[in-house]
Symmetry: C2
C-alpha cells in the first residue's frame, strides 16, 4: 500500500529535534521492529478536529490521507455516544441488547435485499478471514482468486491472499491472481478464465473471487460501464465454477466513493453494478473504534452457523455498536456521501487542471474522495516512485498529509476524512502545485 | 468452551415474555444464525456496575462469569479515560503518540526481561494468529502442538489449532495434541514426545507449543510443582526440536490467577515457572475495549519485522491505549490481583465446604478468581453435564451468572470481574447450595 521510502529510516535520525528523537528511541526500545513511522521527519499529533491534525506546538496539518476518522477527527457526536454507553454497560452478544439489533437493521437496509445477514467482528482482517472461511465451507472448494496487487489484511490466511504484502511468492498455493479491470476489461476476464482452469487443474476448485471495489492497491480504478461488464463476466465464470463473490468494502464502503441523487449508494460494489454474495466492511465504520463486519446472503451463514462455532468476544458490544451507530447517523445527517461526490468532483477538476500544467502529473483517477494522482518521469512517461515519494515529503513540510500508493508506489493517494471542504481541496491543490514546481 | 445446552434454543421460545421474544425475533432476522444467546430464558442487560448487571426493570444479577470487564463493569476511570482521549485524537501508530510508548514501557515492566518487545493487535485471535506466524517464520517449521481440548481463537489459522471448537477432525494436518498436565504430568510429557516425533515424521517439523496457562478449556488446572516440571520438560523437548513456546495469557493474564507477596505476578506462565518465547494477551486488557497484544523476545520480532509487513489499523490507537492504561492503573491502584488471591482462596474454601455436603460436587479446581467446580452423577461418580447445565440455569433464576465448561461441559465455570467481594462469594455459595439441594 505505502512504499517503504515514505517511512522514517535510521539514517533520518540525525536531522530530528530532540523530542522526536527521544520518542523514537523509546518507541523502538519497546515496540516490534515491524512498526513503521510515516515520513523522514515523523509527526507527533496530540489533537484532531474535522480534517485538521495538530502537533504539540499547535501547528495545524490538513489531513488528506486518513479514511478511518471518516466523519472527521474526534467528532463530538461519536465521542459522546461512546462515553455515554461506556458509562452504562459493555458486555457481549450472548446477552440481548437492543442497540445491536437497531444498528444491524439500519445497516442492512443499505444493502441489496439478498444481503440480509450481519456478523460483526473487530477488524477488516477478521472480516475477510471470516468471509473466506464461509466461502470455503459453503463451496467445499479451496481456491481463491484475487487481483494482482490486492491487499485484504494481515491474518495468516488473509496475508496469503494479499500479493501487495509480499509479492506473488508469498501467496498460498491455492491462490491465483487476475489483472484489475483496466481498459475494456478483457484482460481481467481472460485472466479469470485461466485462474479458474488452473485452480481446477490443481484440485483446489474455486471457493471465491474477492475484490476491493476501489482497487486501491491496484491503482484506484473508478467504476465505469467497462468495469461493470468485466466484473459481471468474472462473477459469472466464478459462479459457474462453484465459487462465490466477495466484495471487500473495507476501503471504499460507507460513502467514500460518493453518492449522487438516483445513483448507487454507500457501497463500491453498487457503483460497479455487482451483486456479491458476501461483503466485508470496516475501517470508517465507527470512526476509529475497532468495528468491522461481514454482510452475507443468509443461506451461506445458515450452513456455516450450523457447523462452525464462531464467537468474537469484543465484536458487537454495546459500546462498539454505539460508536458505529453514531458514525452512521453523522454520515447521513451531515450528508457526507453526497458531499464526497460533490467535493470529490471539484478536487478532481482542480487536479486535472494541475496535470495540464505539470508534465510530471500523468493522470487523475478514482471516485468521490478516493483519488490517485499518477506521477511520471517527464522524460520517459514511466511511473516515477522517487518523485511521488519526494512529493509526499514536500507536502508534509507544507502541512498537508497524503501518501503514495499503487503498484509502482508512484500514485499520490488522496483519501481524506469525508468533511474535506472545497477550501481544503484548494489548499491541497495549491500546495501540490508548489511542490511540483519545486521538484521540476 | 460453553456447552450447547446453556444456550437459548427455538423450543424455549414459548415460555418467554413478549419483549424478550420480540427482541429475539428481530435479532434472528438480521444476525447470522451462528449467534447464540445464553440461557433458555435469555437476559437483556442495560446497566452494569462493579460485579452487578441490571435488567430494564432494575433487577440486579451477580456477575460471576464475565472476565472481560475485569476491573468491574463500566468502571468510571476507564470510561473517563476513553471519553477524554476520544475527544482529543484517535489516529494510528504511524504517527508518534507518547501514550502508546508510556503504556508499552509500563506493560513490559511486568514481564521477564527477555520478553521485551510488544505488538498491539485488537483481539486475542489476532494475537495468537500473529504469534503462530512469527513462530513459523522464525523456526522455518510448520508443526504446532496444543492441549487436547485447547481453544485459542477464531481466525482460519487459529480455529485449525483449537480442538475445543470442532474436535480432533477439525485440526489442520500440521497440528498434534497433548493431554494437559494432570497428576504427575508424565502423560503430557509422553504425548509431547510422540507429537514431536509425528510432526517430524510428517515433514512439518515443530514450530511451536502453544498453551493456555489456565488450561481453561481443558478443565482449569491450577499451577503446582507438577505442572511446572511437566511444562519445563515439554518446553525442553520442543526447543530441542527447533520450536518455540507460546504462552496464551488471554484468559489467565492480568492477575486473574491472583498475586501474593513474594510470589509470581500477573501472568499465568510465571505461576508454572515457565519461560515462554512469545506471550499473547487480550480479554481483560482494556476492560472491554478491543485491545490485545503479543509480547515477544526481540530477536523473533526482528527477523519477522524485516521480512513481513504487518500493520494493524485499529491497534495501538490513542483511545485504545488510553483504555488499556486506565485499566492497568485501576488494576494496580485497587490491588485487584492481590484481592483475587485473597477472595479466591475464600471462595474456594466455601465451595470446598459445599462439596463436603453435596455428593454432586466432586472437586473444586483453579486458582485466584478462575475456578472450576466439577459436577458428577452421584450414582456413578462420572462427569454430569446435564446436571451442570441445569445448575447454570437454576443460578440464573437465582440472579447469579456463571457458566459450564471443561471437556465434558460438566464443570461450573466461576470467573467473575476481579472486584468480586467476600459478600459476593457468600451469595454465590448460598445460591449454589440452594440450587444443589433443589436438584438432588
Amino acid at each position: 500500500m505505502i512504499g517503504p521510502a515514505t517511512y522514517f529510516r535510521p539514517e533520518h535520525r540525525a536531522g530530528l529535534d530532540d523530542r522526536t528523537r527521544t520518542l523514537i528511541d523509546r518507541r523502538e526500545a519497546v515496540l516490534s521492529p515491524g512498526y513503521r513511522l510515516f515520513y523522514a521527519h515523523p509527526l507527533e499529533f496530540v489533537r484532531g478536529s474535522g480534517t485538521s491534525l495538530y502537533t504539540r506546538d499547535g501547528t495545524e496539518y490538513l489531513d488528506a490521507y486518513n479514511n478511518v476518522p471518516s466523519v472527521g477527527h474526534a467528532h463530538p457526536r461519536v465521542t459522546a455516544a461512546i462515553a455515554e454507553q461506556a458509562a452504562q454497560l459493555n458486555t457481549h452478544t450472548r446477552y440481548l441488547h437492543e442497540g445491536l439489533i437497531d444498528y444491524a437493521e439500519l445497516l442492512l437496509g443499505s444493502f441489496d435485499d439478498t444481503l440480509d445477514t450481519l456478523t460483526l467482528v473487530c477488524t477488516g482482517s477478521e472480516a475477510n478471514d471470516l468471509a473466506l472461511r464461509v466461502a470455503k465451507h459453503a463451496t467445499g472448494n479451496r481456491g481463491v482468486i484475487v487481483t494482482e496487487n490486492a491487499y485484504h489484511g494481515v491474518t495468516t490466511e488473509i496475508a496469503a491472499i494479499s500479493p501487495s504484502l509480499g509479492g506473488i511468492d508469498s501467496l498460498a498455493e491455492w491462490v491465483r491472481t487476475v489483472r484489475p479491470p483496466v481498459g475494456d476489461g478483457t484482460e481481467m476476464v481472460a485472466d479469470a478464465r485461466a485462474a479458474i482452469a488452473a485452480l481446477q487443474a490443481a484440485g483446489h476448485g474455486v471457493a471465491a473471487f474477492i475484490v476491493d471495489t476501489a482497487f486501491a492497491s491496484d491503482g484506484f480504478i473508478a467504476p465505469s460501464p467497462e468495469t461493470a461488464t468485466a466484473l459481471a463476466e468474472v462473477a459469472r465464470l466464478v459462479r459457474a465454477a462453484g465459487g462465490v463473490i466477495i466484495a471487500d468494502e473495507v476501503q471504499p464502503g460507507f460513502g467514500r466513493l460518493g453518492r449522487r441523487a438516483g445513483a448507487p449508494g454507500l457501497w463500491g460494489y453498487r457503483h460497479h453494478d455487482m451483486t456479491p454474495d458476501l461483503v466485508t466492511i470496516g475501517k470508517p465504520m465507527a470512526n476509529g473504534f475497532p468495528v468491522a463486519g461481514l454482510v452475507a446472503r443468509r443461506e451461506l451463514m445458515q450452513q456455516f452457523g450450523e457447523h462452525v462455532r464462531y464467537f468474537n468476544t469484543f465484536a458487537g458490544t454495546p459500546v462498539s455498536v454505539a460508536a458505529a451507530r453514531a458514525t452512521w447517523e453523522v454520515l447521513h445527517d451531515e450528508q457526507l456521501p453526497e458531499h464526497a461526490a460533490t467535493v470529490g468532483d471539484e478536487l478532481r477538476g482542480m487536479l486535472v487542471e494541475l496535470a495540464a500544467r505539470h508534465d510530471r502529473v500523468h493522470a487523475v483517477r478514482g471516485a468521490g474522495l478516493y483519488l490517485g494522482v499518477d506521477i511520471v518521469d517527464p522524460a520517459t512517461g514511466e511511473p516515477d516512485s522517487a518523485a511521488a515519494v519526494s512529493l509526499v515529503g514536500a507536502l508534509r513540510e507544507r502541512r498537508i498529509l497524503i501518501s503514495a500508493s499503487g503498484r509502482d508506489n508512484a500514485a499520490l493517494k488522496v483519501r481524506p476524512p469525508l468533511p474535506f471542504s472545497r477550501a481544503d481541496a484548494e489548499r491541497l491543490t495549491t500546495e501540490l502545485d508548489g511542490a511540483l514546481s519545486d521538484l521540476a
